[in-house]
């Protein structure tokens, strides 16, 4: 295929033919080393062109933060508004009289524990009351308790609200 292209060039020397990569040599065109041109990378002309684009399609040229999470947001004008709650607060407990240390001695035998599943948590929190209610006939026809405890009266929405009240970001979507 390369040979025929060269031959065509010889026949029509003044005509500029556009070459198409079809040969094996050009299969290695996967070197994208220079294609991440974020922030200050790229030539001056490239950055000038990019500045013109920025107003129209800001999502095309977002600023690359290298994985650093923001502690605020940008308003319509572009000003950055800091949100103090977005700054992570390290809650470090008091470690006086705390016996567990960073390392474990080699003399210790292997501790094997089974997995603590959601079922185990349910059993630990609810099972005793359920058994007592059953014995004292305090369950109605559907099996629900007639005198629910605080945990039993909890609805899923209320439980989620309680968890979110801590201000943690694990429920962020």
């Amino acid at each position: 295929m390369v040979l025929t292209m060269y031959l065509s060039r010889l026949v029509l020397p003044l005509k500029w033919t556009r070459a198409i990569s079809t040969s094996v040599v050009n299969n290695g065109k996967r070197n994208f080393r220079k294609f991440l041109l974020h922030n200050k990378r790229g030539s001056r002309s490239f950055k000038e062109e990019r500045k013109k684009l920025k107003g129209n399609e800001p999502t095309d040229v977002p600023v690359y933060h290298y994985g650093v999470r923001p502690t605020g947001y940008h308003d319509a004008k572009g000003n950055f508004i800091a949100v103090p709650e977005m700054i992570p607060e390290l809650m470090v407990p008091d470690l006086t009289d705390f016996k567990l240390k960073p390392y474990v001695s080699y003399r210790v035998p292997d501790v094997v524990q089974s997995e603590f599943t959601a079922q185990d948590l349910f059993d630990a929190v609810y099972s005793r009351k359920i058994v007592e209610d059953f014995k004292n006939n305090k369950l109605d026809s559907n099996g629900n308790p007639t005198e629910p405890s605080e945990e039993e009266a909890l609805t899923p929405e209320e439980a989620k609200e309680r968890a979110r009240r801590t201000g943690s970001d694990i429920f962020e979507y």
């Binding site: 567990l100 960073p102 390392y103 474990v104 009240r165 801590t166 694990i170 962020e172």
Partner: protein, 252 residues
């Protein structure tokens, strides 16, 4: 198969065990990554790194190993016979079968599994001069040369102190032991085999102030409650935050 896994697999089990270093550390200190594709969606995860290492008596995480395997150095490949069941350990009594010390018995001081080598204390030695200067001839040091486990060294039967071939068999209790083929006597595992850089044996380890003791480790202090980790922590700290800016409400 992943390249890094292949490279790391060359490091022997006994080497890792003696070092007592985390495997991730050994892998990380060994590898020489020359270029790595950036972490972006248009790139496939590829690395340009050194694939062939020359293993020596210097351990893979040392600076001397790095010097010997510097970027650009190419060494001829050393063909190492793959041994399925490694039978000679640190502290074993072995007889040297070749060289100047042929027929002598000694105790294994180092095992280098990557080259099928064994260094016997005081045997198969040569003199070398370290710290040579213009005026100073250097300090004479007696250093052992490594011996191949396959045909240059042989385990010694403790009953008659003669070299013997061994087989791995199971005792009645189910323990895997080495048995001398000639006499049938069990060759016990030497005590030095348990040794690592940090301790001579696990029971002889001296606990430091930063070590958790067994009595504290085996205590169960967990009581299951219907709280998330954050709620638990807040409960401990006795903080009740009610007016919190929810992150979802912040305009993006």
């Amino acid at each position: 198969m992943r390249l890094t896994l292949l490279l790391f697999e060359n490091v022997g089990e006994l080497t890792k065990k003696y070092a007592n270093l985390p495997e991730r550390y050994i892998k990380r200190s060994m590898e020489q990554v020359y270029w790595k594709t950036p972490n972006a969606i248009q790139y496939l995860p590829r690395t340009v790194q050194r694939k062939k290492f020359r293993f020596t008596t210097n351990r893979p995480w040392t600076y001397q190993f790095l010097q010997q395997n510097e970027r650009g150095t190419h060494r001829k490949k050393v063909f190492v016979e793959p041994i399925l069941e490694w039978s000679i350990f640190r502290g074993d009594r072995v007889q040297v079968l070749v060289g100047r010390d042929k027929g002598k018995q000694g105790i294994v001081s180092r095992v280098i599994q990557e080259r099928n080598w064994v260094l016997v204390q005081g045997l198969n030695c040569h003199m070398r001069f370290t710290g040579k200067d213009k005026d100073f001839p250097g300090v004479a040091v007696l250093s052992e040369a490594p011996l191949l486990v396959t045909n240059q060294v042989s385990l010694v039967d403790p009953s008659d102190l003669l070299p013997t071939k061994i087989e791995w068999r199971f005792t009645e209790e189910g323990e895997r032991v080495r048995v001398s083929e000639r006499t049938g006597r069990i060759i016990p595992m030497p005590l030095m085999a348990d040794e690592t850089h940090d301790y001579k044996s696990k029971s002889a380890y001296k606990e430091s102030p930063k070590d958790t003791v067994e009595s504290e480790l085996t205590k169960i202090t967990f009581s299951p409650t219907l709280r998330t980790f954050e709620m638990d922590v807040m409960n401990e700290m006795e903080k009740k935050e009610e007016n919190v800016t929810n992150v979802a409400d912040v305009p993006s």
